[in-house]
């Protein structure tokens, strides 16, 4: 295999890995927005909560399994408490009130984390046995841990598909997204359903956060860095559609990674080195937003609109 092809394959894997992380965040966000009609800016905070809980547990106990449990439990519990205490009061309000309240939650979570853990980032090691790289194809080595993230993300996608398409809860979720009033009229406890959906979304955000912990540094504000891309994914995929979230996330992940990797190189063929690098970095960071604009031009409701 030529080095160029090997590099392209590795960058594609990087793109997919970023994509599944985005998917875990976007799945929860799009469900909450599609079914409950709430714009939750504090979704990134749940990602941070999962990462911190797992990091602290891993440091204290040294067990990756306990860290996994702690991260999931903390994120899901925080999500449900937030839904019960704050969001429940916002369903009937307009989006501006929701944005204001959930932005307040971001400040609350960030400052609270600073008070408890300080501003110095926390560091967690990749669990023993998942370190190092493995040869996926001749000439292409790839870190085991990142492969695991891809596998977990795809498994979650499959699980969500089965949950939503094949179970009674999933049926209620689908019905809630399209015919909210009818579901309520049939006597379903829609408030409990909302809390569960929100808890599930928080759990997935926590999973994304705790898996990202050993790669990135666990620090205050880590959720906001990725939240903007997550919103792009939700808009591209179609609001309320989990399938859209999956395709949108992988598309955004791959496009972002490939632009970052190849635009400076292409520009360097037509202009001076350092200028090309600086301009290329700027263009690449605009790329996903251009993509979003193009998708919205062609399909204003996203690739897979839920309320079609």
């Amino acid at each position: 295999m030529t080095p160029g092809v090997a590099l392209l394959l590795e960058q594609l894997l990087n793109g997919v890995q970023l994509g599944v992380t985005l998917f875990l965040l976007a799945a929860g966000l799009t469900l909450v927005f599609g079914i409950m009609g709430v714009i939750n800016l504090a979704h990134g905070s749940l990602y941070m909560v999962g990462a911190y809980a797992a990091a602290v547990t891993a440091t204290a106990t040294g067990s990756p399994w306990l860290a996994l449990l702690a991260g999931l439990a903390a994120a899901a519990a925080t999500g449900m408490v937030v839904e019960f205490v704050v969001l429940r009061r916002l369903y009937a309000r307009d989006h501006l009130d929701q944005v204001l309240a959930t932005f307040g939650l971001i400040l609350f979570f960030n400052e609270g984390t600073v008070l408890v853990f300080g501003r110095q980032p926390l560091f967690v090691n990749v669990p023993e046995g998942l370190r190092g790289a493995v040869r996926v194809l001749p000439g292409v080595d790839y870190p085991v841990y990142r492969l695991l993230i891809i596998a977990v993300g795809l498994l979650v996608a499959l699980g969500l598909y089965l949950l939503i398409q094949r179970t009674r809860i999933g049926m209620l979720v689908r019905a809630g997204a399209t015919h909210r009033e009818m579901v309520r009229a049939l006597g379903v406890d829609i408030r409990l359903l909302y809390t569960l959906v929100f808890g599930l979304g928080a759990l997935l955000a926590g999973l994304a956060g705790l898996m990202a912990g050993p790669i990135l540094s666990v620090q205050v504000g880590m959720g906001e860095q990725i939240l903007i891309l997550t919103f792009v994914v939700v808009v591209i995929g179609g609001i309320g559609s989990v399938r859209g979230a999956l395709f949108g996330a992988v598309l955004v992940g791959v496009v972002d990674t490939l632009l970052r990797a190849y635009v400076p190189g292409l520009l360097r063929q037509v202009m001076a080195g350092s200028e090309a690098d600086a301009l290329g970095a700027g263009l690449a960071s605009m790329g996903v937003y251009l993509l979003m604009a193009l998708v919205l031009l062609a399909k204003p409701r996203g690739l897979f609109p839920a309320h079609a």
Binding site: A133, L216, Q225, A278
Partner: protein
Amino acid sequence: MTVHRRGLLASGAALGLAPLAASSLARPALAQGAPLKIGMITTLSGAGSYIGADIRDAFQLAMDMEGGKLGGVPVQLMVEDDGLRPGQGKQVAERFMKNERIKLLTGIVFSNVLGAVAPDVLDAGGIYVSPNASPSNLAGKECSKNFWSIAWQNDSLHESAGQLATNLGQKRMFILAPNYQAGRDALTGFKRLYKGTIAGEVYTRLDQTDYAAEMAQIRAAAPDGVYQFHPGGLGIAFLRQYIQAGLMANLPMTLAAPSMDATTLAAVGEAAVGVNLTSHWNSDFPNEPSKRFVAAFQQKFNRLPTFYAQQSFDAALAIGAALKGTGGKVDDTEAFYRAMKPANFESTRGKFSFGPNNHPVQDWWALKVENVAGKPALVTKDRVLTDHGDAYSAQCRF
């Protein structure tokens, strides 16, 4: 004319703010026997807060080791936090100079805060001694007789790393930095003394935390070595992913000192073993003043001093030497300049002198992260640059 107007405004403000005026009257700075006040503006909150704490503690330590004096002159250190906000730094400087009548200031960590504060201090006839930040404008065209840099001119950090990569025989380097002013300056500085070829030059995003795409590019370019400058948490994330990608084993990384201080090393741990960097000082320097400083610092604060602490300690010693020469007076800036310029103090660096633009002329050393008694530590190796000044002194005219 402006000076007069400022003076009038200040006295007006003093009348208006009765409690503040009363407090400054209660402690008249010029009274016989009262200690000389030194104003320290530094970063004590936020991500860089450990740097400010080291600068404050080391300066205080230098005073304590002389029994509350510097150069035989009783001094009092007043410390305020700038919160890494240029505006806040400016306000603190204003308060120090107007209310406390302080003429001698120090302490700022970050270049952007210094950029806001230094012109105010210098225009008002004050003296600023920088223990860390030292941007190119203050070394070149906008240099001042009353601005003293104790640590280094910013570019020297990266120039010395470029020289080290050359010395290590790394013929093709892959270099990376975030796409902002300090990042572009870093790569320019590195290339100034690096003699080999650049295998790749990549600007990352300042809000980027995942460097997987860059790791793949590095591997594909197959360079002899990698130089990267990512401040704070970004640098730690980069380093960890570099290790996770399996690159550390056969592709040596060269860094500038701010990317690998004692605190960062404690956070990264074992994984940093093998990293090369350059610095003007390290805690294992064998000279007597350095050994005394490290021992005293460890005894008092129970942690290894970073080079930020060392720079602040040297700043206090340099000020002490100047105060000794002027008999404790700071009002005559010309006399202070003459007393400060010879740098008559025992630097923890072994040797130290000021260049024509009041910036350091000093040696730079190669350091390597090695396991010492089972723990990763910075170990000093060869000298990289001798009597190295900066590229801007020729532009400086007092």
